[in-house]
Each structure stands twice: as C-alpha cells, then as structure tokens.
C-alpha cells in the first residue's frame, strides 16, 4: 500500500506533463470567431464629421481589394498604444486601412484622429450600442480584421497591432490574399 502511494506523485505529474504537451499546441488567446470565412455583414455606417460625405463605410466598400478593418474608439486606451503602428502601415502602403469608430461619440472619434493622426481611408461610425461591429464579430477594441477581395472576413486579430504582429502574422496573410 505504502509502495503504491509513493508512486502517486509521479503518476499525477505524468498526467500534468501530458496536459502541458497538449497545451503547447493550443493558443489560449484565440477566441474562436464564428464569422471567419463569412462575408462582411450587410452594413452602412455613417462617415465621421469633417471627413467628407462619402467617406463612410459599407459592405460594398470592402470588395475589390484586400483591406484591414480596424476597430477603435476615443475611449479605448490600448488604441493609443496601437495607433503609431497603424500610421506606419499606412505609410508603407501595404494595405488600405478602414476604421470603425465603435461605441463612441462621432465628434470625439474625429477629434481623437486629429490628435493622434489619421491612418484610415474610410471610417464608419457605429454609435452605442455598436450593433454593426458586433455583427462583424467584434468582442472589444482594438481589434482588426483582414477582408479579402470578395469581401469575406479572413482573419481576426484581437488586441493592439504591433510591429511584430504586423510583420509575422498580418502582412503574410495580406500578401497571400493579394495573390
């Protein structure tokens, strides 16, 4: 009995080790999005004040070119952190970026872009409660989606884009879709 008992710790550890091996193949940050590989939902979002009448965002605008749709809001702290990287992507011209000003006062969203710089080609306003973005599969801000030429959502990135995320994950997908 005592003999068997002394083997118990190593047996428990063995089970844990198997679990960890399996765990290394999983990504806990990846919350499955049901909308991947689905077309962009039918939406028509009003433009931001001061950005021109026809600069809003609709499903039709997302067809024809690969594009990056970025969810932001003037209330979103992590968006401030992400913003310089979006400006760099815009400068590189690798992919057009469209914004959705989510759950925000449009005036504040526009002022925020004036202050931090405007990387977007089109910006749609999705005022509270922000239904359109939720239909898009948004769970928080910042989040970014890669939409292919047919207007189908191909990739969702949760959290701020950084140089590393852009170079290692997003840019290769954009290149692949552009082929």
């Amino acid at each position: 009995m005592r003999r068997a008992l002394t083997f118990l710790p190593v047996a428990i550890f063995g089970v844990l080790a198997l679990l960890f091996i399996k765990g290394l193949t999983l990504n806990p940050k990846e919350i499955p999005s049901v909308l991947i590989n689905h077309p962009v939902p039918d939406m028509t979002l009003a433009p931001l004040p001061g950005r021109g009448e026809s600069s809003g965002l609709s499903a039709a605008n997302l067809k024809g070119r690969v594009s990056l749709v970025n969810i932001y809001g003037s209330w979103c702290i992590a968006c401030v952190q992400e913003h310089p990287y979006l400006m760099e992507i815009k400068k590189s011209g690798a992919v057009p970026i469209h914004g959705i000003d989510w759950r925000d006062d449009p005036a504040l969203g526009a002022a925020w872009l004036k202050k931090h710089g405007d990387p977007y080609e089109r910006v749609g306003v999705d005022p509270p409660p922000g239904r359109a973005a939720v239909d898009f599969g948004v769970t928080g801000a910042p989040e970014s989606f890669i939409v292919d030429k047919q207007g189908i959502i191909r990739y969702k990135h949760i959290g701020p884009i950084t140089t590393e995320v852009w170079a290692k994950i997003l840019l290769p997908i954009v290149r692949e879709l552009e082929k």
């Binding site: 005592r2 002394t6 710790p9 063995g14 679990l19 960890f20 765990g23 401030v80 952190q81 005036a107």
Partner: protein
C-alpha cells in the same frame, strides 16, 4: 567585445557545471574523496563565470549598448538609471540570466558555508544543483541568448514597458527569483538524501535555514508584487488570482508546508518521507511557474515574452527535474525508516494538519490555474477561472488552518493536552467571538457580507492565542519579575514563529476588511465639484500637464476634507510615456490605519468634466504590515543560533548563580 566575453563565460559555466554534475556524484558513490572534492571549486568557478556574464549584460544596459538585440528592444537612453539596471531582468533573456546567477550563488554559498557538512551529502547536493544549472544554461544558450548582436545597431532602443518602470517592480523579480531558486537548495538536498538513502535530524538542520531564507525572499517578492499592483494598476485591488500570481503563490504554500514539516524531522525524526516530497514539490512548483509564465499555455494579464519553442524546452527541463526526482522518490522513499510515532493530538499532529491543509490549498490553486488549459485540451470549450472560484474553495480551507494555528504551538510533542490548552484559551475564544459579533453589529448585520465577523474572530483568536503562548513560555503571569529575563533567553526561533503567526492575524484583518467594505465611486467630476467618499469630501481643483523625465503627465489636484476641514491635497497622474508610447495611471494614495483613500484621474469627458475613480480601501495597511511581520518573523528565526549554517552545537550555558 564585453558582450562576447559574457557569452563565452556562459559557455564556460556550462562546461564547469557538466563536470560538477558528474564527477562528485561518482566520487560519492565510490567513496573517492578527491572526486567528491571537485564539487567545491567547481561551484565557485561556475558562480564566477556566471557572475561575469551577468556583469557583461548589466554593463550593456548601463552604457545603452544598442548593438545587442536585448538592450535595443528593452531599453532606452532616456530611461532613468535605476530602470536601466532593472531592465536587465525586465525581459525574458535577462531574467533567465538572473535566475541562473542566483542558482549559482546558492551553490557557491553551500561551498562557502558548508565546511562541516558530511562530504557525501554535500557533493551529491552540489551535483544535483549543477544538473539544474546545466539545464538552464543550455536553455539560455540554445534558445534565449541575451548577448545576440544586432546589425546595424539602432540609434535608440524601444524602451521598457512603462508599467514596469517603478521602484516596487524593479526589485520584485530579484526577490521572487531568490525565493524560487532558493527552493532548489531544499530540492538538491532532498535528492542527495534519497540517493544516500538517509534522512535524519542533521539533514533537516541543514535544509531548514536555506528553505527559510528562500521563503523570506519569496514572501517579500510576492508582497512587493501585490503592493505594485495595488498602487500602479489603478483599480484598487492587490490580488487577482491571475495565473502568474498563482505561479508564485503555489511554491509559497508548498514552501510554508515544508518549513513546518522540516521542524518535525529535526525535532522528532518523523514525517521524513513527506518532507522530502514537499522539498521536491516546492521546487517543482517554482519550475512549473517558469513554464506557465513563459510558454504561453495560459493567458495572463502579465504578458511575458511567450514562445511555444521555449515552452517545449522548459517542459523538457520540468519533466527531467520533477519527473525524474519523483520517480526516484517513488523507488527510494519506501525504504526510508519510519520515525517516532505520535498521537493525532500533538505538536506533530497539528503540524501535519497544517501540512495537509496547505498542500490541499496549493492543489486547489493548481487546479484553478490549469482548468482553462484542461478544458481546452479536452475540447470542453474556452473557459476562464476567476476570483470567485478561488475565494469559494481556497479560503474555506485556510479558515480551519488558522483556527489550529493558535492551538498547535502550545501542544506538547508526541501527545498534547487539548482540553488543557483550550481551557487556557477560554478568554481568547470569548474575545474572538465578541469581536466577531461587534464587527457584525457595526457593519449593520446582513448589510455587509456574512463572513466579516468570522474573519475578524479568526484573526483575534490567532493573535491572542499566539500572545498567550508567548506569555506562557516566559511565565508572564506566574512569575512576572523574571518574565523579561525569560523573554530574552527565549530562542529566537520561538520569537520568529510568534511574529510570523501574528503577521498572519494582522493580514487576515486587512484581507477581510478590504474585501468586504471597499467603497468605489466612478463618475464624471467637474472642477470644484465635491464627491463624498466614506465620509471624506473629495474636491477636484485642477488638472494640468506636468513634464516627467521620459513621459508627460496630466496631473490632477484634489483637496480632501473631513467635516469642512482641509486634510490633504492629493495629486494622481495619468502619464503618457514617450518610448514606447503608452499611457499609465499613477494613483494618489493617502494611507491610514483605518484605510486608504485612493484617487485615480481618467480622461476628460466631452461635457467639461473628468472621469475620476475614488476608492476607500479599508485596512489595506494591515495587509502590508502583516506581510512585513511574516518577513520579520522569518528573519528573526533565521538568526537563531541553531539555524546558523555551520555553527557548532551551542555549549550549555552554565548558570551564573544557583538561583537563576
């Protein structure tokens, strides 16, 4: 050039560690004393090489040598010097180097202080210590080289995450690592004892001070981390049950259990097999923490550089170290002689109960921490386990332990007199129940949570029980004239225990009060508008920009008044760091015995006000005081002559006069 010397020194250290892992072990097996003697100089040499490497990396940070990838991605010329130095361990590669440096330091300390250790035990323990070093040196050299160069070097670095630019956090990792790695000593001695097939009181006398030192550092490290979370994260909390916090808490629980069971081995030659297991588990938890934090298998608010490739390597180390030692344990432990028997009602019995509850506590924390991973691996979906689980499962386990803590130290070895002890604690019990009832009455009965009375009653019970035990030992009431003399002659370890147990009592008061009665006011506040927070009038007077060394802050000025009299001015800040450009909040805190007023300034809102968050956190200072008493108790106990490493047994002090 200096960086290359550092890199080369690491390679040399690996070679030395390989020799140290093999030669003394063979020597101990064959009884060749000259082979065993290799362990000493090898551990010294290994420490010197690793110290050179650590010095080289520190030099690169201090001189801002951006030709190193590590420095360029984590430092910046504008950063204050303290954070340049702290930046050495503020990243994956550098923190590993610190880990290894501390490991080598402990090995060196065995050589330095362990002159009268039995040579067999010493050489085996140092060989095991060197095996761990080989694993981690290979890890750093193969996957995480801190000396990798960058071509061409950038003009300036990326900077350190501003959240980490804080004095509390600058010292948090070294303390934690001194704790984690310190448990490697108990581990190495446990494996050496298993190899020798002998565990005795001398073994326990050796292991206890090292474990105690590691435990003190770990306690310090965890408290510093909590304190940092409390004053920088800006939400008024200090513990989140986040995987990374749990990763430091599990070794702490196992280490605390180990400290107590090692006493039984030393004094009563019992619980030996269990103590060896705890020594393996405590260090196993430290390695597990390293794996969880750096492999990315769990999501955590503490984002460390996670990388599955590194994860595989650490997992391999974990399997070799923990799997190997537990297998050795399974084979060798049954051969260990059973020690002295004892009745369940005895000092040993109460220490064993402490051990069982502590270990169960650690197991529940482990389960809660790993549950998201288990669910994901078994395709049960994505779940997260938060504070409600831990509070509901962990705290009820700790309540009976605290209740027993007051009684245990008064028990005699082998067979205790529970009825007699409870008789002596009648007054303490009555006062504890009275306090509980009073607290319940003052909070307005069921207007507050049901457990506040219980928390306060437990704290008073433990506090008074500990004081009653001290009073008994110095015969304060029977012979008050001699009490002071007795108090001075009481072993330091007895004082240490009393202080640490009092620390737990004080901590419970802070824990209960802050969890139950925190008040929070979040609103848009206009200039000159006053908000009432727990009886304080908090008035926002102004907000303006203030430049800092590597950030600009918008600083708010609040006036705090009570019944119309101005008490204080508080100035919380919202900082935007330049490199990397990130916002942080710096709360203003006014600490007091009854609680902290905690003020955070947020963004301006469009209607001309500012979002402000105002908290009153009751008895937070008691948490830090309780933690401080735990550390102080550990230090006092460590200074006990019987714990002094290598000290000869104390000669019996001859009474000066017959009367004394």
């Amino acid at each position: 050039m200096i960086a290359e010397i550092g890199h080369f020194a690491l390679v040399l250290a690996l070679c030395v560690a390989l020799v140290q892992a093999v030669v003394p072990l063979i020597g101990a097996k064959r009884g060749w004393s000259n082979w065993m003697a290799v362990a000493g100089p090898a551990s010294t040499l290994q420490f010197l090489f690793i110290a050179v490497a650590f010095g080289a990396l520190t030099n690169a940070y201090v001189t801002s040598d951006f030709s190193l990838v590590n420095v360029a991605s984590n430092s910046h010329t504008e950063k204050p010097m303290l954070y340049k130095v702290a930046g050495v361990w503020g990243n994956h590669e550098g923190s590993l180097l610190l880990w290894i440096t501390i490991l080598a330091l402990f090995g060196f300390a065995v050589t330095l202080f362990g002159r009268n250790l039995p040579p067999g035990l010493k050489s085996r323990a140092l060989a095991v210590q060197a095996m761990i070093a080989v694993g981690f040196l290979a890890f750093i050299l193969l996957t995480s080289n801190p000396f990798a160069r960058l071509e061409p070097p950038p003009m300036d670095g990326n900077g350190l995450n501003p959240m980490l630019q804080d004095p509390g956090l600058a010292f948090h990792p070294p303390f934690l690592y001194l704790g984690y790695v310190g448990f490697s000593m108990a581990f190495s001695f446990a494996i050496a004892a298993l190899l020798e097939g002998r565990v005795d009181a001398a073994w326990a006398r050796w292991v206890r001070p090292w474990t105690l030192a590691a435990w003190i550092f770990l306690t310090c490290g965890i408290m510093l981390g909590s304190w940092w979370a409390y004053y920088t994260l800006g939400w008024g909390g200090w513990w989140y049950w986040d995987p990374v916090e749990n990763a430091s808490f599990m070794p702490w629980l196992a280490g605390t259990a180990l400290l107590h069971s090692a006493v039984v081995v030393e004094k009563r030659d019992s619980l030996k097999s269990w103590t060896i297991l705890l020594a393996i588990v405590a260090f196993g938890f430290s390695l597990l923490g390293t794996f969880l934090v750096r492999s990315g298998v769990l999501t955590s608010v503490h984002a460390f550089a996670t990388d599955p490739a590194r994860g595989i390597f650490i997992l391999l180390l974990l399997v070799l170290a923990v799997g190997g030692s537990l297998t050795l344990y399974a084979i060798r432990a049954p051969a260990m002689k059973m020690g002295g028997l004892f009745s369940p009602i005895s000092r040993e019995g109460s220490l064993l109960l402490n051990n069982v509850l502590m270990s169960t506590g650690a197991a529940t924390v482990l389960l809660g921490t790993l549950y998201p991973l288990i669910a994901d691996a078994l395709n049960l979906g994505k779940v997260s386990v938060g504070p409600p689980f831990f509070n509901a499962v962990f705290l009820p386990l700790m309540a009976p332990m605290v209740a027993v803590m007051a009684v245990g130290p008064m028990m005699a070895w082998k067979r205790g007199d529970l009825a007699g002890i409870l008789g002596r604690l009648k007054l303490a019990a009555a006062l504890a129940l009275g306090t509980g009832a009073l607290v319940w009455f003052l909070q307005g009965g069921s207007a507050g949570p049901w457990w506040t009375g219980a928390g306060f009653a437990l704290a008073v019970w433990l506090g008074l029980g500990t004081l009653a035990d001290l009073a008994d030992r110095i015969r304060l009431f029977e012979a008050p004239a001699e009490a002071l003399g007795r108090a001075l002659r009481l072993p330091r370890s007895a004082w240490g225990m009393a202080l640490a147990h009092l620390g737990v009592a004080v901590f419970i008061i802070g824990l209960t009060a802050s969890a139950a009665w925190t008040t929070e006011h979040i609103q848009s506040q206009k200039i000159d508008q006053t908000v009432d927070v727990a009886g304080y009038g908090v008035t926002l007077k102004s907000v303006h920009d203030v430049p800092g060394p590597n950030y600009t802050a918008s600083q708010a000025t609040f006036e705090i008044s009570r019944n119309g009299t101005l008490l204080a001015v508080m100035q919380p800040e919202k900082r935007i760091y330049r490199m990397p450009p990130r916002p942080t909040t710096t709360a203003a805190i006014r600490s007091g015995i009854t609680g902290d007023l905690y003020v955070v300034i947020g963004d301006a809102d469009p209607k001309g006000g500012y979002v402000t968050r105002l908290y009153f956190n009751p008895c937070i200072a008691w948490l830090w005081a309780g933690g401080g008493l735990l550390v102080l108790g550990g230090l006092v106990s460590l200074l006990d002559r019987r714990h002094r490493v290598g000290a000869p047994a104390r000669p019996r002090v001859q009474p000066v006069s017959a009367k004394a």
